[in-house]
């Protein structure tokens, strides 16, 4: 299998899906991204990311019930797969280990 890579934005969305456990769908992800990561995104960008994640097998989706403010359309909920969780774990390990290697000295002004 080809090496799977996660883009920065994809990773953020994947994290959000994991964090929102069972409540993750387009609009909720968008709002949480905005609120918690301070990140403004287009809904279309989120859909693109979700489609990619789904193709890579990192998330799966199911349809929820009908709500009135969606014009009678169902929500599509996303959950992280085990594979997705593994990818997140991996990413996390890499980052923490790298982070720990930062020497504790003063930084150049940039």
């Amino acid at each position: 299998m080809k090496e799977q890579t996660l883009g920065e934005f994809e990773e953020l969305v994947l994290l959000m899906v994991a964090a929102l456990h069972d409540e993750a769908y387009g609009v909720s992800i968008l709002e949480h991204l905005e609120r918690e990561a301070g990140r403004k995104a287009n809904i279309s960008a989120i859909h693109v990311a979700l489609k990619r994640l789904e193709q890579k097998g990192l998330v799966v989706s199911r349809y929820g019930g009908i709500t009135g403010d969606r014009g009678g359309r169902r929500k599509k909920f996303y959950v992280v797969t085990a594979f997705g969780k593994k990818a997140l774990d991996q990413q996390y390990t890499v980052r923490t280990s790298l982070y720990k290697q930062i020497p504790d000295i003063s930084f150049a002004k940039g």
Binding site: V27, S44, H47, G71, R73, K76
Partner: protein
């Protein structure tokens, strides 16, 4: 709540393009977000955001995959097949494309030209409130229109007509300092001859919304003796400097300096073209001029208040006629006042119509285009494009035999007819795309020549937002129009018949093809007729007996700066052996020169008769001889008669107008001077364009001004001018000599006619080429079709001539038929055009013979190559395959 819902069309669009799996999710999310947005930021922003998001979905991941890619590969297939067909038939393909490209290039040129012509005066903020006043006389014995009104009308318009917000007067013809002058900034010594002076009221700048670089429209001309410069002139005299407040001198009149009130930046496509505007504020050209209702010199513009009704205003303007104008006239005579009220009225001409109304219609001295020319060229463009389409149709159907097997095969393996139609349409669109490419290259390449031809500065508007999309639409349109008939025709073949070999070989459509050939040649012949006739009219104008001798006359400009010394210069020049005669007068028989229109009456009948409008030209004793004009009665002015200061020489038209059988000794008056007595009658000479009648004119003594016409003695112009220049330098060492030749100035007047004639020539040559390309391909095809027949005939003993005749006769018959169709059409069109001239050539039958011969010869040459080849080919070669 009911109104708060996502934009319907965006939803529709999404439902249409998104693949189904995604559609529900996306639409749901978008709608949910939409309501949230609508709550927080308002409905409009929410809607806008919804649309924005919608656009974001138009990308590969979201689009319905199956159908579109399928279509796409089908179209790729169509184009692949078309490309192969194109390559298989190189000759025919290149003829189809070449013809198309020429036709399209011609159309682009003409379209750009027309676009430029109709773009004049379309830029005003208050477009529909700006008018120029016109007066109309519609009497049984006199019908005329003109655009010049009297001086006091402005004050009356402003005070009496409430619907008029602003009014302004404008003088653009040569009159006092309007026209051309010697010009220099205060503080310099060298005067430079400049053209493009005009008088204007301060309000004109505001009405015509003239943009300003320095100063502003409200104040620029508000002070007496102020002047406004164009950007170009300001840049050349006062580079990188704000010249407002500086002074300039006209014609060395130091005591009458003008103060610069502003620098304007007139847009290119407006009828208002002036480099220097002099204010009319506080101006009175002679005592009583500003209050006189007798002299008509002012173009008058008005701006109506918002919502005013044009017809209503025109109605209200009649009050001016009935009060002010009638009052003056009833002082002069009852008859005139009565006539006035019965037949005279004002009209308002919308500002954007000024440019395309020819000068001959309203006698203004502005730069004009011509409505008729625009129409004519538009038709020519359309026809050339049609010719190219016809070529395409003709060749496609003619080659149908070649395609029949392909069509049969495709049908056998399961193509629907609709697929085939699409295939053939794709083919014609492909041809069209290639042809458009060539056409654009051609246009880009030939643009400089076209600009010379039309005297314009056009360019391809690559960067305009409409240009490329518009082009795409045009390609599709032309491609489909020319492809639709072949597509239906070719796709209708029955596979069984075709594959058995009983194909009709394109005979079924031969009648249509013949019709199209007739159409092509008829168009070509009409264009040839137009070319010949416009050429002849031009020739007629340039060589007509004018009543004066325009050759060997030199117009010497600028000697008025000598003031009293001007006469001495003239005498000195006359003494030269190279100079036959010299005169001082600004009045010359060239359109655009100084004019002075007056009302005249026979002495004693001023109270009784209508006035006769006539030019009054101030000349000197040598004028008639210098201009080569002939007296038909009486004598010239002479210094021997002291009384000649009140003498007048009238032209024949004026004598006729007064009904004078024996005009000598008659006394005539105008509104200003004491009576003149007629001492001579000069033969009618053309002093304006041949588009108008020769109108009444009279000559009086008092020549002065900027212009000194000289008649040269021999044909050695170079040495004559050398001698003249020598004398000039003695008199005016600080002023460079400046002169023009009258025959050139005269030819200038007819630039437009000359251009029309040249444009016709170019486009008829184009049309002929396109038609010939088509005919050539058709004849080649015909020869190919009948090659077996020809071979058998040869074997049986037919001569070359017989074969040649056999193959060409059909085509020649079609050309003759086209001639029959084209002649009445050409005659009608050209009669319409010639009607714009009072003095014109008559259309004689030899024009048609000439056009017919050209068409026949061209057709014969085109088809004879292929026919002869068939005639001399070895029949064995062609029959061997059987």
């Amino acid at each position: 709540m009911s109104k708060v819902s996502p934009p319907k069309y965006a939803e529709k669009l999404l439902e249409w393009v998104l693949h189904d799996e995604l559609a529900e999710e996306v639409l749901g999310d978008l709608e949910e977000q939409f309501y949230a947005h609508a709550d927080r930021k308002g409905l409009r922003r929410a809607k806008r955001n919804y649309w924005y998001q919608t656009w974001n979905y138009l990308r590969p991941f979201a689009l319905k995959p199956t159908k579109l890619t399928n279509h796409f590969s089908m179209y790729r297939h169509y184009f692949k097949l078309s490309w192969r067909a194109l390559k298989r038939q190189r000759l025919y393909s290149s003829i189809k494309i070449g013809g198309f490209a020429l036709g399209i290039a011609a159309t682009i040129f003409i379209a750009l030209f027309i676009q430029e012509e109709v773009s004049y005066d379309q830029h005003y903020k208050d477009q529909d409130r700006i008018f120029r006043m016109i007066n109309v006389v519609d009497a049984p014995d006199e019908k005329s229109k003109w655009s010049h009104l009297q001086a006091p009308i402005k004050a009356v318009l402003d005070s009496d007509i409430p619907q008029i917000e602003q009014s302004a007067r404008f003088i653009a013809f040569n009159w006092y300092n309007a026209g051309d002058n010697q010009f220099r900034p205060q503080g310099t010594t060298q005067s430079v001859y400049e053209k493009g002076f005009a008088y204007a009221d301060p309000e004109l700048l505001e009405i015509l919304e003239v943009p300003f670089i320095y100063g502003n429209a409200t104040t620029a001309l508000a002070q007496p003796n102020s002047i406004v410069l164009s950007k170009e002139k300001a840049d050349s005299y006062f580079p990188n400097q704000d010249p407002v407040g500086l002074q300039v001198i006209l014609n060395e009149e130091e005591d009458n300096a003008y103060t610069i009130g502003g620098v304007m930046d007139i847009v290119a496509n407006t009828h208002l073209q002036a480099d220097f505007l002099l204010t009319l504020k506080g101006k009175e050209f002679w005592p009583g001029e500003q209050t006189s209702w007798d002299s008509w010199n002012y173009s008058t513009y008005v701006k109506l208040v918002p919502g005013a009704d044009r017809q209503q205003v025109e109605q209200n303007l009649l009050a001016i006629r009935d009060t002010h104008m009638a009052a003056t006239l009833s002082d002069n005579g009852g008859e005139s006042a009565f006539d006035l009220q019965a037949h005279f009225r004002f009209l308002l001409q919308p500002v954007n119509e000024i440019y395309l109304t020819p000068a001959e219609e309203l006698h203004d001295s502005l730069l004009h285009g011509d409505r008729k020319t625009v129409w004519l060229f538009g038709c020519v463009a359309l026809f050339i494009l049609l010719l190219a389409c016809v070529n395409f149709i003709n060749l496609s159907t003619a080659k149908s035999a070649m395609r029949a097997k392909e069509v049969g095969m495709l049908k056998v393996v399961g193509s629907f007819r609709s697929d085939l139609i699409r295939q053939f349409l794709a083919e014609s669109v492909l041809f069209c795309v290639i042809a458009f490419g060539f056409a654009l290259a051609l246009v880009a390449l030939l643009m400089p020549y076209f600009n010379i031809l039309t005297g314009k500065t056009l360019e391809l508007p690559w960067l305009d937002f409409w240009f490329l999309p518009g082009f795409g639409v045009l390609i599709l349109l032309v491609g489909v129009i020319s492809g639709i008939y072949p597509a239906f025709y070719l796709s209708a073949f029955r596979p069984a018949e075709v594959l058995k070999g009983t194909v009709t070989k394109g005979k079924k459509s031969s009648r249509l093809r013949s019709g199209l050939v007739v159409f092509q040649f008829a168009t070509t012949i009409v264009l040839i007729i137009c070319t010949v006739i416009t050429y002849r009219q031009m020739d007629f104008i340039l060589n007509k007996k004018l009543g004066f001798e325009k050759d060997r006359v030199v117009l010497l400009y600028g000697s008025n700066t000598l003031e009293e010394g001007q006469q001495a210069l003239k005498d000195e020049l006359k003494r030269l052996s190279h100079v036959e005669q010299a005169t001082i007068s600004e009045f010359i028989p060239i359109t655009g020169a100084t004019r002075d229109q007056n009302g005249f009456w026979l002495a004693g009948r001023r109270e009784l008769d209508k006035s006769v409008g006539a030019q009054k030209w101030r000349v000197d004793e040598d004028y008639l001889q210098t201009m080569g004009m002939k007296l038909v009665q009486g004598r010239n002015f002479s210094e021997a008669f002291a009384s000649d200061s009140s003498a007048v020489i009238i032209n024949e038209a004026m004598a006729r107008e007064f009904g004078l059988d024996d005009p000598l000794g008659a006394k005539i008056v105008n509104s200003f001077e004491p009576a003149y007595h007629v001492i001579g009658v000069v033969e009618d000479f053309h002093f304006e364009s041949m588009k108008g009648e020769i109108r009444p004119l009279c000559l009086v003594l008092g020549g002065e001004g900027i212009l000194m016409p000289l008649r040269l003695a021999g044909s050695d112009v170079a040495s004559a001018m050398h001698a003249v220049e020598h004398v000039w330098d003695q008199f005016l060492p600080n002023q460079a000599i400046r002169y023009r030749f009258m025959d050139q100035e005269y030819a200038h007047m007819y630039d437009m006619v000359q251009r029309t004639s040249r444009v016709f020539t170019v486009f008829s040559v184009l049309a002929i080429i396109v038609a010939c390309l088509g005919l050539f391909a058709l004849s080649a095809f015909m020869v190919e079709q009948r090659s077996k027949e020809v071979s058998i005939r040869k074997v049986l003993g037919a001569s070359l001539m017989q074969i040649f005749g056999l193959l060409t006769f059909n085509f020649l018959r079609l050309v003759v038929l086209s001639l029959v169709v084209a002649i009445p059409l050409g005659w009608y069109l050209m009669r319409e055009w010639l009607d714009t001239f009072v003095y014109r050539v008559t259309i004689t039958w030899d024009v048609y013979v000439l056009a017919g011969l050209i068409a026949l010869a061209v057709a014969l040459i085109t088809i004879s190559g292929e026919s002869l080849k068939a005639g001399v080919d070895n029949p064995a070669k062609r029959l061997r395959s059987e």
